[in-house]
């Protein structure tokens, strides 16, 4: 049985990491990062089967691809706290000569990252390719991916969504972070996404909805169901309903903190709402 308290404690520490990382360099994307903290913790601590160490091919382990690369702070924090690299390296986020680039990349050789992302809409195709390679290699492990909801406005996703069902990519679980926000406002105001569940189902995917996407238990339950749906001839989509900026009250329920760092005072407020658990980097 997963230790829920330990997972929640880790999530709180990840929130602190995110706030401190973006505050230090006065740039980066805290909103979406905070909204996905529980998901990343659940994925890396409980859901995915991973090997010790890191190699690019990842044969015999589950793979993860982050398509909405701007939420790199949560990715880096959870990778570091899952042992891919030293947590002290979080100090170098977005600084010159760092492996922790503004958006994730393989270019500097950061363990845990297998593809560059940031220019939106490309990650699902890459995840499908990795899933196809696993099938060719008779590798039974799974491929996971995460995408922003606003990111689905990029047309390449729909090419990928069509391909995945048409070719029975049933070793893929693509999660959509449904927070309803994007840079210019709500997704409803910028370009409505419509009924994503019906859209994915119409495209031939199995769909799992996680209504409480900031609740570790709900995420574990939903992702367990998603895993049980793999291997049945259909790709699996998880619609993860999250709150952008979750865990920091003044950042929640708004797109204002999509790509804006807190000032000193705001950082102090945010950290006070998330007391240190595992130790700051």
């Amino acid at each position: 049985m997963p230790n829920i308290k330990a997972l929640n404690d880790l999530t709180t520490q990840v929130r602190r990491d995110i706030l401190r990382m973006v505050h230090k360099v006065n740039s980066g994307h805290p909103g979406g990062s905070l909204g996905c903290a529980e998901f990343f913790v659940a994925l890396y601590q409980e859901i995915m089967e991973t090997k010790d160490g890191f190699d690019m091919d990842g044969i015999g382990e589950d793979l993860f691809f982050l398509s909405n690369g701007h939420i790199s702070p949560v990715y880096y924090s959870v990778l570091a706290r899952s042992g891919y690299f030293d947590v002290d390296e979080l100090n170098t986020f977005r600084l010159i000569d760092s492996r922790l680039q503004g958006h994730p990349t393989t270019h500097e050789g950061l363990p845990g990252v297998r593809i560059a992302s940031g220019s939106l809409g490309q990650g699902m195709s890459v995840a499908i390719g990795a899933a196809e390679a696993k099938k060719l290699n008779n590798d039974d492990n799974l491929v996971f991916s995460l995408h922003g909801d606003g990111e689905l406005q990029e047309g390449q996703n729909w090419e990928a969504i069509m391909y995945a069902s048409g070719n029975k990519i049933d070793n893929l679980i693509s999660t959509i972070d449904v927070n309803g926000q994007q840079i210019d406002g709500s997704t409803d105001n910028v370009l409505p996404l419509g009924d994503l569940k019906r859209k994915f189902e119409a495209f031939g995917w199995s769909v799992v909805e996680i209504k409480e996407g900031n609740n570790i238990v709900a995420i574990l339950d939903g992702m367990t169901i998603a895993k049980s749906l793999t291997g049945k001839g259909k790709p699996v989509c998880v619609l993860l309903q999250t709150v952008m900026g979750n865990g920091v009250d003044f950042m929640m329920h708004t797109h204002a903190w999509h790509g804006k760092a807190p000032n000193d005072e705001q950082l102090a407020t945010g950290l006070a709402q998330n007391a240190e658990t595992l130790g700051d980097y």
């Binding site: 690019m56 091919d57 990842g58 044969i59 793979l63 691809f65 990349t105 393989t106 270019h107 297998r114 593809i115 560059a116 992302s117 940031g118 220019s119 809409g121 490309q122 990650g123 699902m124 195709s125 890459v126 995840a127 499908i128 390719g129 990795a130 899933a131 196809e132 390679a133 696993k134 060719l136 290699n137 590798d139 047309g155 390449q156 090419e159 990928a160 069509m162 391909y163 048409g166 070719n167």
Partner: protein
């Protein structure tokens, strides 16, 4: 002067298909992806021999590039196939982020490059692709001249670990390089020795350069023809050594003079040995419908254009 025999006209895309067929048998990690142009790319035989390693993605080139990038994770060597226009301009950002910046071992194989695509017209004739691809850090750019060389290049790039853009064409053209010849990425091939002028050509213009050399020879002008099949990395040494002897140079390519082979050569010469240069290339224009021969003639991409350029550049020595 060394002469070359056309062993019979063949299309370079069939050289790619023949190479891919051979790779299918010799390298089980080679996979092929196509965006609804299997016959045009001559990928049918690979598909028939290895249906499990052939991936039809439909009319969705962006997705094809991303899938190819992903398939390298797990050790596959993906060869993507579509027209040059849809292999580059249409998917530039996908190539840039998912392949080039991510350092993925994908071979982007592009047929129907340039104006010799012919009757379909300018929507499909890309004359900017060499420029687009050579600007990407880490991308190798190859433009082969005939069937045999395209087959050899297809085999060679499978052994090279890194992203490659392989450019070839639609029409049947003279096949004159050695059958089963070796292909060394980044190594220029000197086809004729000459003292008066260097002609550096790539793709379909290589044969035209050889044809021009015959007439120039009759006029007492000795031309050194270099086949630059790899535009990036460029064999700078071969170019510099040749112009040290001849003192002037022509570049010839089925591409816009902006961004093409000619500019790459100019950069090398400006840095190491400023040399008079003339450009045989399209003049910052789109193409149009017509037969390949009509178009090559109209847009000045033939042996006659090379001869004229030779006479111009000789006056500038």
């Amino acid at each position: 002067m060394k002469t070359y025999i056309n062993t019979g006209n063949k299309d370079t895309r069939s050289g790619f298909g023949a190479g891919l067929t051979e790779l299918g048998k010799s390298n089980e990690n080679v996979v092929a992806l196509c965006a609804d142009l299997t016959g045009s790319l001559k990928m049918d035989e690979f598909k028939a021999n290895h249906p499990e390693r052939f991936f039809q993605v439909g009319i969705a080139e962006a997705n094809m590039i991303g899938i190819a990038a992903g398939m390298t994770i797990g050790g596959k060597i993906p060869f993507t196939g579509t027209f040059a226009n849809f292999s580059t301009g249409r998917v530039y950002d996908q190539i840039r982020q998912s392949i080039a910046y991510s350092g993925k071992n994908v071979k982007i194989c592009a047929s129907h490059a340039g104006i010799t695509l012919g009757e379909d017209g300018a929507t499909h004739q890309i004359l900017e692709d060499i420029g687009l691809m050579k600007m990407l850090p880490g991308m190798t750019v190859i433009n082969t001249c005939d069937f045999n060389q395209t087959k050899a290049a297809t085999l060679a790039i499978a052994k090279y670990d890194g992203p490659v853009y392989l450019r070839f064409g639609r029409p049947k053209v003279p096949n004159f390089t050695p059958e089963n010849g070796t292909f060394e990425i980044g190594k220029a091939v000197k086809l004729t020795e000459g003292n008066d002028i260097t002609i550096v050509a790539t793709g379909h213009l290589v044969w035209e350069a050889l044809e021009a050399t015959k007439s120039l020879n009759e006029a007492g002008i000795s031309a050194e023809v270099i086949n630059i099949h790899t535009i990036k990395p460029l064999d700078e040494k071969a170019i510099i050594e040749s112009v040290e002897k001849t003192g002037c140079i022509i570049t010839a390519e089925e591409h816009n003079y902006l961004g093409g082979l000619g500019e790459s050569v100019s950069r090398v010469l400006a840095k190491h040995r400023p040399t008079p240069q003339e450009f045989v290339a399209t003049n910052d224009t789109f193409g149009e419908s017509g037969t390949p021969t009509q178009l090559m003639n109209k847009y000045g991409l033939n042996s006659e254009a090379i001869e004229k350029a030779a006479k111009r550049v000789l006056t500038r020595k």
